[in-house]
């Protein structure tokens, strides 16, 4: 099996360090696709507070990372998701997918992000400058993006209302 790292942590991550770890000892990697999610401001937002379901989060992240390795023939995969209070402009999530060719690296990175947005048990609360806070609602277009990937994602996240 290729090297897979999944972590949930309050601390920042170091993209360069994680990329170096992913490449270490490998000589058939042609490219690493990456995505860094960032707290986007606007409307007086000052921070997000992220909570998750300890245990389930990590096991689900491991499953989807393994599944991405198999589906896209990855040579390695790293998924790190932060929790706790994160100010505007701070990185929240990092996905790295190493592959022989760039096409599968790009596809796998998008696949994992779509999955994280719709099937990983994290919840965000928005905290505003005036002291208000509110739970973020799920977005229909995230569900649509995840639906592109057919059976695998759907099976991983069957909904209550069925």
């Amino acid at each position: 099996m290729p090297p897979v790292t999944v972590r949930v942590q309050p601390d920042p991550f170091d993209t360069a360090h994680e990329t170096a770890l992913l490449l270490r000892g490998q000589d058939m990697v042609g490219g690493v696709g990456a995505f860094t999610g960032v707290v986007r401001g606007g409307n007086g937002l000052v921070a997000l507070e992220l909570e998750h379901y300890p245990g389930m989060t990590e096991s689900q992240m491991q499953r989807i990372a393994d599944s991405a390795c198999e589906r896209f023939g990855l040579l390695g995969c790293t998924v790190i998701h932060r929790v706790g209070r994160l100010e505007v402009g701070m990185p929240i999530v990092l996905v790295l997918c190493a592959a022989a060719h760039r096409g599968s690296a790009f596809e796998a990175t998008e696949f994992i992000m779509d999955w994280l947005k719709t099937r990983a048990p994290f919840w965000k609360r928005e905290v505003f400058a005036d002291g208000r806070s509110a739970w973020v609602e799920a977005r229909a277009d995230d569900d649509a993006a995840a639906a592109r990937w057919d059976g695998i994602v759907a099976a991983a996240g069957a909904e209550l209302k069925k």
């Binding site: 389930m56 994280l116 947005k117 994290f122 919840w123 609602e137």
Partner: protein, 84 residues
């Protein structure tokens, strides 16, 4: 005993993060448990009357209302996820 977990606004509104209760006598599925919780009335009644706004996991895997439940299961209720 069932271990029941609540996350995000379910936890806020119910005022608890988890509870432990015996497997109800007639409860065979998640739907049976939802029916019992709804019968408590109050915030439980309001929340579990609208299952379309809730997601559920049984033993840390997403599940449907039809999923069977058994003693010692961990059942989690939460809103649609918003990570990433």
């Amino acid at each position: 005993m069932l271990h029941i977990l609540y996350f995000a606004w379910l936890r806020d509104r119910l005022g608890r993060a988890d509870e432990t209760l015996p497997l109800p006598a007639d409860a065979r599925s998640v739907q049976d448990l939802i029916t019992q919780l709804r019968a408590r009335g109050g915030e439980y009644g309001a929340i579990f009357a609208r299952p379309e706004q809730i997601r559920v996991a049984v033993n840390q895997r997403f599940a449907t209302v039809a999923a069977p439940i058994a003693a010692n299961d961990e059942i989690a209720f939460f809103p649609p996820v918003t990570g990433g």
